[in-house]
């Protein structure tokens, strides 16, 4: 029962968030200098063409009317058509979203898993050289600009070693496509995006595992005759997972940031890149749609993480 209440409350929050995002972005976009009509017209266009465009897209109406129109359409699930592409915004984004989810998802999972393992390793040998090494590396890892790392990776593994493709998501020659091909294309972007999160997760995992190892029940389960490994895995690590999970929840937002950079470096056909291009070309409907769907994505994920957390930690009461 309380779980349903909780769910409902979270969904209401979610809707609120999305609405705020929508209004905020709309205001921002339309207050900004830079005339989309001019851009759409292009260098060669005369003023009259610009004027027609401005009228055609209702850009000549007062802001509040435009906003009203937009919100009402948005509430009916209609994000409008892209200025620059003429297609429905939803189609364009839905067409791009899988790529982004693939990139972000795999980085997130990889980051969480490797991070936890690394952290556990460090925690097992706290204070030792291994610990110092790992902790040092992980700080360096989350202090490195994703795009810079990406460039270096490209030149190392694509140009010089020619091991992985530098960009894109699939080969353009029909016969070369396939899962392996996609994986090869994923290698570099995922790597450069993951490093940052491995760093963060190792830090959290290390702290929480070490903390769990101090707990009394660890002694208990040693005393009853469990193997050290069993105690560590079933109890220390199991308890340490909680903070790691909630960390992962927070990371998703950062991941969207990483996504736009990574997608730009590796020309990954995701929505991060798409929305950025949309910003540059002032494609208002596309920008709005992108931001709104992006934040819906984030909220849904946060929700998911909350539920996982609840499943993992019986102490949480859903209030």
């Amino acid at each position: 029962m309380e779980r349903i209440a909780y769910l409902i409350r979270r969904i209401l929050e979610m809707i609120l968030v999305v609405l705020v995002v929508a209004v905020l972005n709309f205001t921002l976009i339309h207050l900004a200098p830079g005339d989309v009509a001019v851009y759409m017209a292009g260098m060669e266009a005369g003023p009259e063409y610009i004027a027609t465009i401005r009228h055609e897209y209702g850009l000549d109406l007062p802001l509040h009317i435009q906003m009203g129109r937009y919100m009402s359409r948005f509430l009916h699930g209609d994000f409008g058509r892209s200025f620059t592409r003429g297609e429905p915004v939803v189609d364009i984004i839905m067409n791009r979203m899988p790529a982004t989810l693939l990139l972000m998802g795999s980085s997130l999972i990889l980051g969480a898993v490797l991070g936890t393992l690394g952290g556990a390793l460090a925690a097992r040998h706290i204070g030792s050289k291994v610990d110092y090494l790992i902790s040092g590396l992980c700080v360096a890892a989350y202090s490195t600009p994703v795009f810079w790392l990406g460039l270096i990776l490209i030149y190392a593994f694509s140009v010089h070693l020619n091991w992985f493709p530098s960009s894109g998501m699939m080969s353009f020659l029909e016969e070369q496509r396939g899962i392996v091909d996609t994986l090869r294309h994923m290698a570099l972007p995922v790597l450069s995006l993951t490093v940052y999160f491995i760093g963060q997760n190792i830090k959290v995992a290390r702290a929480s595992v070490a903390e769990a190892m101090q707990d009394d029940y660890i002694t208990t389960f040693r005393a009853v005759g469990f193997r050290e490994r069993t105690v560590f895995l079933n109890h220390a690590l199991r308890n340490a997972l909680l903070p790691i999970v909630s960390m992962t929840g927070l990371q998703f937002t950062q991941l969207t940031a990483g996504a736009v950079l990574t997608e730009t470096v590796f020309s990954w056909p995701g929505m991060g890149q798409l929305v950025f291009q949309a910003v540059l070309s002032r494609d208002y409907p596309l920008i709005m749609g992108g931001y709104i769907l992006m934040s819906i994505m984030v909220v849904l994920f946060t929700l998911l993480v909350d539920f996982i957390y609840v499943v993992l930690d019986p102490r949480i009461e859903l209030k």
Binding site: G42, N162, P269, L280
Partner: protein
């Protein structure tokens, strides 16, 4: 690793070359060209918008009525694409185009004059970009399936060259049977285009690549390549990487490394650099409508402050030469070589600023003009900023994306901006850049005699007479220091040495490419 890399190139070439043969300069058929484009392709409909990455592609899918090759004056002469021939009535008001008869759309439907009329009528009605070149078109008639007649409201010498030139960006002919009665902008065929061009659309993976294959039923001799693939890049760094590692055959002019490194890249084995003159220069535009540049002395001072050789050397590695003329090397026909901007003279420049009432402040700064630019000409701008410091002009540099830049240009919200003025394909372009109230006259320069001369120029058909007119035009611009020419410009592309007939550079492509992005003349050496 080198070994690895060249092995890879080898593999690609194998992919590309099917029949074997000795090194012959006679073009041979077959091969897949992997080329590059930057930014997002938004629509493959060539008429409704300005879409830099897309028009290179649509030129291979669609055909224009008339077309001209890139830049250089002789190449800029219009020639027919769908039009087999045309004649102009003696009064210069009627243009009659005779179309090729054996033209079919990729979906098999026959192409007729109706398609041409439909396309241009739509452009005019909807005021799509090409419209500004069809302003004078009173009516388009189609007496029969293979004839199109344009009726102009007044004589206009530049009409055809300008139309042909602009057709390189947009305004190729679209299929009436697919677009008639639909919303042009949202028509599904914008995503799976059907044209009459040398290549047929195959696949468009949004944000990744577009691929075309040769059109065997092309109304001319079919193109050499089997397949063309445009890889879409979101950044300008990685294409180079892919080109070096042999995963790209052609590096587009907008994706090349900084000029200083072009020689190094060109020197790599198996790499060929293509150079293409341009009808555009690189210059600085003053805002004539506000202080301080409404004062000719200030404009002159700036002109005296800059050192074109330094700009050419630092920003363009000497590849784009200094330009002192109100024209450029790409458009020699109408260049008046007696009109010359002065050499650098800092003393005189400061003197002028004193006279204009801008003495140096305590920090030695006389002026703080705002310069707006995009990343495109940033290096030139940075050099000039340093040069202007020497005469106490402290430039505030606003770097922004194209949108912001363009709209600030239109609203006149700037003091200085780097720009590119075109001196062709017809000298009438002086008008659009400096004529009072003209589209590209962002500096709001205004001079009655100038406007008068340009009008006369449009009505004049005789070459000698026109030349005299535009010589005067250039004198006026120089006298007023209307703007500040800095360097020539041009385009560089790179390709594997095995590639021939690349537009932008290879003269053998002229008259065969039907557009600057046209790859009809491109072929792989065995």
């Amino acid at each position: 690793m080198k070994a690895v890399r060249f092995y890879f190139i080898g593999v690609l070439l194998l992919l590309n070359c099917f029949s074997s043969g000795a090194l012959a300069q006679t073009p041979n058929f077959g091969g897949t060209l992997i080329t590059s484009t930057f930014g997002n392709i938004t629509s493959l409909n060539p008429i409704w918008k300005y879409d830099q990455p897309a028009f290179m592609i649509s030129q291979n899918i669609y055909s224009s009525l008339v077309i001209s090759d890139w830049g250089i004056a002789e190449g800029a002469k219009p020639y027919g694409d769908l039009a087999k021939s045309w004649e102009v009535s003696d009064d210069g008001l009627t243009y009659t185009f005779h179309l090729y008869d054996n033209v079919y759309w990729h979906d098999g439907v026959k192409f007729t004059s109706a398609d041409v009329k439909f396309t241009y009528d739509t452009v005019i009605k909807k005021k799509y970009p090409l419209a500004s070149y069809l302003k004078l078109v009173k009516e388009i008639q189609t007496p029969d399936q293979k004839t199109v007649v344009f009726k102009l409201s007044e004589v206009n010498a530049p009409f055809l060259p300008m139309l042909a030139n602009a057709s390189n960006w947009y305004g190729q002919i679209i299929a009436k049977h697919l677009y008639d009665g639909t919303d042009i902008q949202t028509n599904p065929y914008n995503k799976k285009p059907v044209g009459t061009g040398p290549f047929k659309f195959v696949e468009w993976k949004d944000g990744q690549f577009v691929s075309l294959q040769v059109n065997e039923k092309y109304f001319r001799e079919q193109a050499y390549l089997d397949k063309i693939i445009w890889r879409v890049y979101a950044n300008k760094e990685v294409p180079q990487a892919d080109f070096i590692s042999g995963n790209l055959h052609l590096l587009m002019y907008e994706l090349i490394p900084p000029f200083h490194q072009l020689k190094a890249l060109a020197a790599k084995p198996g790499v060929k650099m293509w150079e293409q003159k341009s009808i555009y220069d690189r210059c600085i535009v003053f805002n004539h409508k506000r202080k301080p540049f409404n004062d000719i002395r200030v404009r002159e001072a700036i002109s005296l402050a800059i050192n074109r050789d330094e700009v050419s050397q630092l920003a363009w590695a000497g590849l784009w030469k200094p330009n002192y003329h109100a024209s450029c090397a790409g458009a020699p026909l109408f260049t008046n070589s007696n009109v010359r901007w002065p050499e650098q003279d800092l003393k005189r420049a400061q003197q002028l600023l004193d006279e204009a009432g801008y003495p140096p402040g305590p920090d030695g700064v006389r002026l703080k003009p705002v310069l707006i630019a995009t990343a495109y000409l940033q290096s030139m701008v940075e050099v000039i900023i340093q040069q202007l410091k020497k005469i106490g002009v402290q430039v505030k540099f606003d770097l922004s994306d194209t949108t912001t830049w363009q709209s600030r240009l239109n609203s006149g919200d700037f003091d200085l901006t780097p720009y590119y003025i075109r001196f062709g394909p017809d000298p009438d372009s002086y008008g659009e850049h400096f004529g009072t109230g003209e589209a590209r006259n962002f500096g709001k320069y205004s001079n009655a005699t100038f406007d008068e001369l340009v009008k006369v120029g449009q009505k004049t058909l005789n070459f000698q007479k026109r030349k005299e007119i535009y010589d005067k035009v250039q004198e006026i611009l120089r006298k007023d220091f209307a703007y500040l020419p800095v360097t020539e410009s041009g385009y560089f592309q790179f390709s594997t040495a095995k590639l021939h007939g690349v537009t932008f550079g290879d003269p053998t492509s002229y008259g065969k490419s039907f557009g600057w992005g046209g790859y009809r003349a491109v072929w792989f050496e065995k």
